[in-house]
Structure formats: C-alpha cells, structure tokens
C-alpha cells in the first residue's frame, strides 16, 4: 500500500456495507481453458497452457453506508472483476467479500432483456428478476418508461430487438436505478447515450447518492470520478495500491501511469 493507506481500511466496523478481506481470484491466461470431452476423457491432458494469473490478489477494504467510491486503474487492473465479485456474479478463490443488503448492478444493463418480447413485457419480467413484486412494478412502471424517454414509450409494444442500442441501454438504466437496493455498482455505463440522456443519468446518480445509497463507480473519466466520488481505490495488476480521498488517489494514479 502506498502512503494513502489507512483511510478506513483495516478498521472495519459493524456498520460497513461492503467488507472485502484478502480477496483474490485466479484466471487462466489462455482463453482456452475449455477442455474438450476428449481431453477430459484422456486424463485431462489439456493442450492449452496451464498458466494462470491472479486478476485480484489480497484486496482488503471496507465501505461504510453512503460512501461513494471510485475505482481507478489501467485496463486489466481488476476493476470490473472487483465489481462483479461485489455483485456476487464471480466467486473468490481466496478471501471473502461480504455485502450487507442488496446490490443494484449497472453492469450488463440489457442482460435480462429478450429481443423477441416487447419492451413492456421485458420491463415487467426483468424487474421481477431483480426482485420487485407485481405491485412495486406497476407502481414504478411509468417512472421507468418516462425516464427512458418518449421514443421508448412510443415503442413499448414493439419487439425489443427493434430498439436502437441507445434506447435499449436507456431502458436498462432506468430499470436498474429504480431498484431500492442500498448499494449501486456502476461499470462505465455513463459513457452511453446521447448528451441529454447522460445529463439525466448524472442527475439520477446524484439523487441516489443524496438518498444515502452506497455507490461504487468504475470509470476512466476523471470528471465523473471527481463529480461523484469522495473516496478512491486504485487497483494495479490486481492489487490495491491506494485507498484514500478521490483527489489524492487520482493524483497518484496519474503520477504512476504517466
């Protein structure tokens, strides 16, 4: 850890909503981890190189409620991997990450949507997948569609695959951000949409923060990071090298990557 260590880290308290302890995950370097059945049958003689690397290693930190944390680091540093582990869609090989309360993951926004169904059906079904009951969905349906914009409303009964990718993402963003989950994970999605919509997204994110949600943001945009985050985590080749005020962490990142 650099000179900025010490901020919050190492002093976990009962109030913390995210606690990572010695988190590590190991990946195969070659894309061909996949064995063919022939190889499995022949005593696992995998012809691909067995070299592995740790996408994350020994990562420990804790985040209190209402904190806004920005993750920085160059490509391949482990930012998205960390986000996915907090979201629970990747499981650690070492250590643990504990999350109090639910997570609203703005990771694969259109992941739950099916091209053949109409946008309306998609919203109903995907909201259900994220844990909203019928009553909550009908209460929020109009909000979601309004936020996604008039074009989306016009096409509500059209098959979803006829939507432009921008419209698809809008609907996804609108849906996930209406969830009540106390933790919001954002992975680069702010880069999508036109300028007007981006402004709306910013507004929505600020609303979420002011409601006391905990935010975890991955971004390469310093402006975004400065705007939303008070605390920064800097990941370098899977290790946590800095944890401190956003401004300081950005400075350290810029200094080391320059």
């Amino acid at each position: 850890m650099g000179s900025l260590a010490g901020h919050e880290a190492g002093t976990p308290s009962a109030r913390d909503v995210i606690t990572a302890d010695g988190l590590g995950i190991e990946f195969y370097r070659s894309r061909r981890r996949k064995l063919s059945l022939r190889e499995m049958a022949l005593r696992r003689e995998n012809t691909a190189p067995k070299e592995t690397f740790w996408a994350l290693k020994d990562v420990s930190f804790s985040v209190g409620p209402g904190e806004a944390v920005g993750l920085v680091g160059s490509n391949g540093g482990g930012k998205s991997t960390l986000l996915k582990m907090i979201a629970g869609v990747l499981l650690p090989d070492e250590g643990s990450v504990k999350v109090q309360g639910g997570v609203a993951p703005l990771i694969e926004l259109t992941g739950g949507f099916l091209g053949e169904l109409s946008a309306r059906e998609n919203v109903l079904l995907t909201a259900g997948l994220h844990g909203l009951d019928k009553h909550e969905i009908s209460e929020r349906f109009d909000d979601i569609v309004d936020f996604a914009g008039p074009q989306v409303r016009q096409g509500l009964d059209m098959p979803f695959r006829h939507f432009s990718s921008g419209m698809q993402v809008r609907l996804g963003f609108a849906l996930i951000t209406t969830l009540d989950e106390p933790i919001v994970l954002v992975d680069e999605v702010l880069a999508v949409g036109d300028r007007a919509f981006r402004e709306k997204c910013y507004q929505r994110m600020e609303d979420l923060l002011s409601q006391g949600r905990t935010l975890f943001l991955v971004s390469h945009s310093e402006a975004d990071l400065r705007r939303f985050c008070t605390r920064g985590l800097y990941l370098q080749s899977g290790r946590l090298v800095a944890d401190g005020p956003m401004e300081d962490v950005l400075e350290q990142y810029n200094a080391s990557s320059a």
Partner: protein, 264 residues
C-alpha cells in the same frame, strides 16, 4: 446443500417469472406454439404404430391398446428429451443473465425443467382424449393406480433436475457436451421401454433396463391405464436413482460454480 435449496425456495417468485418468460417466448412467436407441443408426440406415436403394429404386425410389443400405450410413453419422453437438451444449455444460453444477476445459479436449470414440465402438463389433454376414447370403446379401463401418475411426475422432475445440474456446468466447461448429450438421448430412447414393455426384453436385458430410471417412472405413469401388474424392482431402482442424481447433481453443481462463472 440444504442451505442452497432454502435460498432457491426464497426466490421462487423469480422462478415463476422465469418460467412465465420461457412460456411466453415459446408461445409468442407463433399461434401454432401449443399445437407443436402435441403434434410432435402424436406424429411419433403414429409412426411407431404404423411400423410396429401395422408393418411388423406386433401390436403386442406393448399393452393393449398399443396406440394409447405409445402416447403414455411418448409424452413423458418428450418432456425428458426437451428438458435434458434445454438444461444442458441452461447456463450457456442465458450467459448474459447469469453474468448480471446474483441469483442462486441452480435456478437456471430448475426453470428449464419446470417450463418443459408445464408443456408436458399442457399436452395431457391429448392423453385424456385418447383415454376417454378407448374407455368408451371398451378397450381398456381405468383403475385406482392412476394416483401413481403424479408420483411419476414428481420423480421425473427430481431426475431431470439432477441430470440438468450435472450437464449445465459441463457444457460451459466443455463445448462438445451438447453433441454427446444428443447421441446419448437418441440411444436412450430405444433403451427405454417406450415402444415396448419391460417384460418383452430377454431376462438379462431386463435387468440392465432396470437401471434406466425412466423404466420405473414409465411403469408408474402407465399403471392407472392398464391392468397389467407393475414390476417393483425397476420402480425402487428408478426412485433411488432419481434422488441419487439430484444429490450428485447438486453437489457437483456447487463444486463447479466457481469455474463456471469465470468461463461464462
């Protein structure tokens, strides 16, 4: 294992959502959707009837009436076949959703079994129609053992879930699983007493067939519609194998989960 299942139970509302989504997709594309669920087994029944009863003149391969016998075997087989194909691909096909939602991953398998199971239930009116037809004609009578029908259904559900939990991660980790599954299924069709009864096979083969869990399950499905005695051995073996598959599948699924999530 029980902890995992209580988590799944807690998310049963989501399971319902997923199943409804599956059925909606299946029936949204064409109004023929429902017809397809029943045309397939009917067509197959007709073919086997023509081949065995008309051409080979051996309608005694199964119980009488042979056509009814065929339908009662083919409908559950269709569920079995479709469910295995679907569960093998359950994680791969929904990769995006698996990657973006933190649900108990077993749900993706169970939902496919249930969705195909509902299609099976929806095809039962066809069976009912033929039963009424043959009863009125006086070719067969119903008996109290019809209460075993739901038992068979539960056992088949358990069996399919177990096998699905084994296959879904295997497909993620090795692409060619699907091909193997297809070949095995095709062979298994003839290795299952669907177009013939167990006791038509020579003794040594019968013993082998007992270890096909579907043998016992099909005996249960048929019991209420035919007067013939049911064999106990395949029943007991089938029931324990179904439960065994579920336990094996659950344990293996939990062990593979970490690797699967990395690959998907």
């Amino acid at each position: 294992m029980f902890e995992r299942y209580s988590r799944i139970w807690a998310r049963r509302a989501i399971l319902q959502t997923l199943v409804r989504r599956d059925l909606r997709v299946r029936y949204a594309r064409s109004w023929l959707g429902y017809l397809w669920t029943i045309i397939d087994p009917l067509a197959m029944a007709l073919i086997y009837f023509l081949v065995f009863a008309v051409i080979f003149k051996r309608p005694d391969a199964g119980h009488k009436p042979y056509f009814l016998f065929l339908i009662i075997g083919l409908l559950p087989w269709q569920w079995f076949n479709a469910s295995i194909n679907e569960t093998a691909r359950a994680l791969v096909a929904e990769a995006k959703l698996v990657r973006s939602t933190n649900l108990p991953r077993e749900l993706w398998v169970i939902r496919a079994v249930i969705a195909k199971g509902i299609e099976f239930l929806l095809s039962l009116p066809v069976l009912l129609a033929f039963v009424i037809f043959y009863v009125i004609k006086g070719d067969t009578t119903l008996n109290w053992r019809i209460v075993l029908f739901p038992v068979a259904l539960v056992l088949q559900f358990i069996l399919l879930t177990g096998i699905g939990l084994l296959l879904a991660p295997a497909t993620v980790l090795a692409d060619d699983t699907i091909r193997l599954v297809r070949i095995v299924l095709r062979m298994l069709f003839y290795g299952t007493p669907i177009i013939y009864t167990l006791d038509k096979a020579p003794d040594w083969l019968q013993t082998v067939l007992w270890f096909n869990p579907l043998s016992g399950i099909l005996e249960l499905y048929r019991a209420g519609f035919f007067p013939e005695r049911i064999q106990l051995a395949p029943l007991l073996i089938g029931a324990s194998m179904s439960v065994g598959f579920l336990v094996w599948g659950s344990l293996s699924f939990a062990r593979m989960e970490r690797a699967v999530l990395k690959e998907i």
